[in-house]
């Protein structure tokens, strides 16, 4: 039977699940019995790629060519605040692509986060194929609810590079609620909050669950706040301490940084259970006199909480806003679900309890529940389970630029998908000939802080004084978050419309190039010959299929031969 897998593509760990023959989701374990796989990719000097636990083990010895946290970079600009922070402490180099996107440089080669995510997806797909004993081509992939269109599209592109047909991008908290709520039917209407604090992202979703209908009432979060920030705080503190004591800047020594980072993460995890943790790293580095630094430090829970107090504070305002958007008070929420490894922290659980006036539920395994929900959603889409439906929302306001820099919202955030909204606008100049409608997504009233999605121009407006021409703008968003925009002048009936396909930063041509490269590598390694005859065919195939007239490569404006400008790299200050 054809299976569609559900993939939780996490910042630190990824996980895959599928519906079994009885319609129950189950996690697919790797050949070593691991149920989650570290989202790490490593390149050896010879160009061999390792993914998962093997890559993570190379994090110390091969730190500069071992990449983690690609999800923090995917679909992002290199100059975003959190990206530059991440770059400062990451042992690998983060560089700017020509369009300003954050890429990674490994062995002198620029690599897009999409390609790194594709390696992870490919490895996850292989786990599923080995476990199911059949090829897998279809997947539902989860992303944080707060991801914008570019980040979502970049994730889809990663799927395409991995040879997967990503049938839907699903929000992580929604997936978690689905996995959680699917077992509890007919309890009447329940309003739940899903508090999802993962390795790199924070999401809060307020949902109503009733009779198999999972309706998202509001969603909010911070796509750049997660467990790694807690690690980083400890790491920064220890780097400073080492510098104060020895005048050695560890940030210039990738191997030391990797060891310290691992130790900080381990200490943070230990502090969820114990009151103190010891970090002991002999021979961490050499000081100015060539003597070894044997690092040893005890970290208490109090120290961790002091260092991360402002991070805890940052959890509160998205919760408040989501509750307000849902029109609920904390007491209306009947249950709070915890998702993501970071929610094991007692300090985080205290914040949850304070925000929602109740103790959170701890039934589900926070590392696996998202993948289980994704598998369940795959079942809804393929028709295997038809007693549930999921109603998700737009995470950000959608609107147009008016005046110089103001943002007029046409479709407010938290609108149920699919949806359509109309709004009338009027011309502002006498005899105005045309209007140029620029579409933005974001939550700021200043368009410059939002992300531009596209534009449509309506010309040949009928002459008349300012305000006489009225333009009706209709925005339609489908369940896959594809936008179409129609502008119509009321009197003349003139119309212009555009369908906006979000861009994840890579052009279709760049994606095709990456795929072509991988197909060649693949062919060199293991390309099978399905029928024994005609070995020469494949060459013609490729030429035919990847000819210059390839319709998949319509935009040629990006120069493919120079995907990344050599400089500037962000300064490790």
């Amino acid at each position: 039977m054809a299976r569609t897998i559900g993939i939780d593509l996490g910042t630190t760990n990824s996980c895959v699940a599928v519906l079994d023959d009885k319609g129950q989701p189950r996690i697919l374990a790797s050949a070593d019995g691991e149920r989650t796989m570290p989202s790490w990719v490593s390149w050896s000097a010879a160009g061999q790629i390792a993914v998962g636990a093997r890559a993570r083990r190379q994090g110390v010895t091969n730190a500069a060519a071992t990449v983690y946290g690609a999800k923090r970079l995917i679909g992002r600009k290199v100059n975003a605040d959190d990206v530059s922070w991440f770059a400062r402490l990451a042992p690998f180099r983060i560089v700017a692509a020509p369009n300003g996107d954050a890429w990674v440089r490994v062995h002198g080669q620029p690599i897009s986060p999409q390609e790194i995510a594709a390696h992870i997806l490919r490895a996850v797909r292989k786990i599923a194929e080995d476990s199911l004993g059949e090829p897998v081509t279809r997947a539902v992939v989860t992303v944080p609810a707060y991801f914008d269109d570019a980040q979502r599209q970049a994730t889809r592109d990663a799927g395409q590079i991995a040879g997967l047909d990503v049938i839907r991008i699903l929000n992580e908290p929604t997936a978690a609620a689905l996995a959680y709520g699917a077992h509890r039917v007919s309890e009447g209407r329940r309003r739940i909050a899903v508090f999802d604090l993962g390795g790199g992202t924070f999401d809060i979703s307020i949902m109503s669950v009733e009779n198999g209908i999972f309706e998202v009432l509001a969603t909010g979060g911070d796509s750049a706040l997660g467990g790694e920030d807690w690690d980083r705080r400890v790491l920064e503190r220890l780097v400073d301490e080492v510098f104060d004591q020895t005048r050695v800047d560890l940030t210039t020594i990738p191997m030391a940084m990797s060891r310290l980072r691992e130790a900080c993460e381990a200490a943070k995890k230990a502090l969820s259970v114990d009151r103190e943790a010891v970090i002991s790293l002999p021979f961490l580095a050499d000081d100015a006199h060539g003597a070894a630094i044997n690092f040893e430090r005890t970290i208490t829970r109090e120290l961790l909480e002091t260092l991360t107090k402002d991070l805890l504070d940052r959890l509160e305002s998205p919760c408040r806003r989501a509750l307000a958007d849902a029109g609920l008070t904390p007491d209306d929420v009947e249950e709070v679900l915890l998702v993501g490894g970071m929610t094991r922290s007692p300090a985080v659980q205290d914040v949850v309890e304070r925000m929602f006036h109740r103790k959170p539920s701890k039934g589900a395994n926070p590392d696996e529940v998202v993948a289980l929900g994704a598998a369940q959603y795959a079942g809804i889409l393929t028709g295997e389970s038809d007693d549930a439906a999921l109603l998700d929302v737009t995470p950000h306001d959608l609107g147009i630029r008016v005046g110089d820099s103001q943002f007029a919202v046409v479709l407010p955030r938290n609108s149920m998908l699919p949806c359509r909204a109309r709004r009338l606008f009027a011309t502002t100049a006498d005899n105005q000939k045309f209007v140029s409608i620029e579409l933005y997504q974001g939550d700021s009233s200043d368009v410059a802080k939002n992300r531009k999605l596209g534009q449509v121009t309506l010309d040949d407006l009928p002459p008349g004084p300012a305000g006489s021409a009225r333009v009706e703008l209709v925005i339609t968003v489908n369940v896959e978050s594809i936008l179409s925009v129609t502008a119509r002048e009321i009197r003349s009936g003139r119309e212009a419309s555009v369908t906006i396909r979000p861009s994840g930063g890579l052009s279709q041509r760049e994606i095709v190039e990456i795929i072509t490269r991988r197909r060649h590598e693949h062919a060199a390694l293991s390309m099978p010959d399905p029928a024994p005859t005609g070995g020469g065919v494949r060459v013609t195939t490729r030429e035919h299929l990847v000819g210059p007239s390839d319709p998949a490569a319509p935009d040629a404006q990006t120069a493919p031969d120079a995907p990344v400008s050599p400089e500037p790299d962000p300064e490790p200050s």
């Binding site: 897998v136 209908i213 390839d550």
Partner: protein, 422 residues
């Protein structure tokens, strides 16, 4: 799709079949199709190729030559449009995984040469019933969307004017399970998914407008109804804002566009004649086979004179639009012919009265329904609604017919699904 183009659905049951097709046809940018009566050279063909993993690949091509191969039989050779690299990669990586699996498990059955050639040669007309079922479904959904557009939010959700929050939610949940675009994600036709989304948007908008008591009262007011008597404690306002979304902040932007004042409210529906409270009950019952078929049961009762309180007089006595209630009583008692005659008579006197003209159409529609001419009936009801959007009875009849169409569509759906997942 262009007129005269062919549409073919092709399902690979095994990866070996796909390997054969890929190697023999796709990799050359061609495709051989068996056909007893080959289509003309130059005909456009769309092929939906479903892999064993259920991924559907859309191919398109043009009939290039007619061939008569002794080995493969008569057919046509298509020239395919270039296949996107991403798709090729998807097929190749799946075949590679299958190959690896087969070799490691050593259960691969090598394809004999002859088998490889004939393993899977699609025939034009294969799965034709599937294509047809999809077309039927699109047609049915399109007409449903059209009729939904004419209804007020209560009728769209099929709830009564006195419905509570939980009634509205339950009705919405029911319709969501039936119409949410995710339900249609499994069908490859983009048209089908598009029209499903259109229907769901109508349902969603109705839900938004009725979702809480305050909004509901407003809708009732525009419809000229009174809010139901004592309302239970209203819950807090829902998340979704009322329509149209109010500008978040009041400000006066300058160039090049300014938000115009919101569109004028829809023209107030001409107030329908007041109805007894007992009549305000859930719309959407009945037709043939419904449960609480008031119209139907009255029709049946019409032969029992004892039950009927005959209308005050015959058609001749009805002279002005004020007597509409008398005619409605006739309809209530199933005397459709008389009602029609009465409506026609007074319409002559008041040719501009929309209520009356709609009444004529309504009676015609009810008569058609009694004669089991559903197409005619639906058209009559729709005309009645176009003339007079406040004609509640026509709207209700349409809603009933729609409900019935939904049940029939379930048959269509299962035909499609049954084929897909045997």
């Amino acid at each position: 799709m262009a007129e005269g183009a062919l549409s073919i659905k092709l399902r690979c049951a095994s990866w070996q079949q796909l390997a054969t097709i890929y190697k023999r046809d796709l990799s050359h940018g061609t495709m051989f199709l068996k056909a007893a009566t080959p289509p003309a050279i130059g005909t456009n063909v769309r092929i939906d190729l479903a892999l064993p993993s259920a991924t559907v690949i859309a191919l398109s091509g043009v009939v290039q030559t007619h061939v008569n191969d002794p080995q493969r039989g008569a057919g046509v050779e298509l020239k395919l449009a270039p296949i996107p690299t991403g798709t090729v990669w998807l097929i190749e990586s799946a075949l590679a995984a299958e190959h690896k699996r087969a070799t490691t498990q050593a259960i691969a059955v090598p394809l004999s040469g002859a088998h490889a050639m004939t393993g899977l040669i699609p025939t034009i007309g294969e799965n034709a019933e599937l294509t047809a079922a999809e077309d039927d479904l699109i047609k049915a959904l399109t007409s449903e969307a059209e009729s939904l557009k004419k209804l007020n939010p209560f009728l769209v959700l099929g709830v009564g004017y006195e419905a509570s929050d939980s009634d509205v939610r339950a009705a919405f949940g029911e319709l969501t399970k039936r119409y949410h675009p995710d339900r249609f994600a499994r069908y490859e036709s983009p048209d089908l998914r598009q029209i499903a989304a259109e229907i769901f948007i109508l349902i969603r908008d109705a839900y938004r407008r009725l979702g809480d008591a305050t909004a509901r009262a407003q809708v009732l007011h525009t419809l000229g109804k009174h809010a139901p008597a004592p309302r239970a404690v209203a819950g807090p306002p829902r998340a979704t804002p009322a329509v149209p979304p109010p500008p978040r902040t009041q400000r006066m932007p300058v160039i090049p566009l300014v938000p115009a004042p919101p569109a004028p409210p829809p023209p107030p529906a001409s107030a329908p004649p007041a109805r007894p409270a007992s009549e305000r009950r859930p719309a959407g019952r009945t037709g043939e086979g419904g449960t609480d078929s008031r119209a139907g049961s009255v029709r049946r009762l019409a032969s029992e004179p004892g039950v009927i309180r005959p209308p005050a007089s015959q058609a001749g006595a009805i002279g002005d639009p004020g007597d509409v209630s008398a005619i409605e009583a006739l309809i209530d008692h199933g005397r459709l012919d008389e009602a029609l005659a009465a409506y026609k008579a007074i319409t002559k006197k008041h040719p501009q009265d929309r209520n009356l003209r709609a009444g004529v159409e309504l009676c015609e529609g009810l008569l058609a329904l009694a004669a089991r001419d559903r197409l005619e009936a639906a058209q009559r009801f729709e005309t009645a609604l176009e003339i007079d959007p406040s004609n509640e009875r026509a709207a209700r009849e349409l809603a009933d017919m729609r409900r019935q169409a939904t049940n029939e569509r379930k048959g269509l759906l299962s035909r499609l699904m049954g084929k897909k997942e045997p």
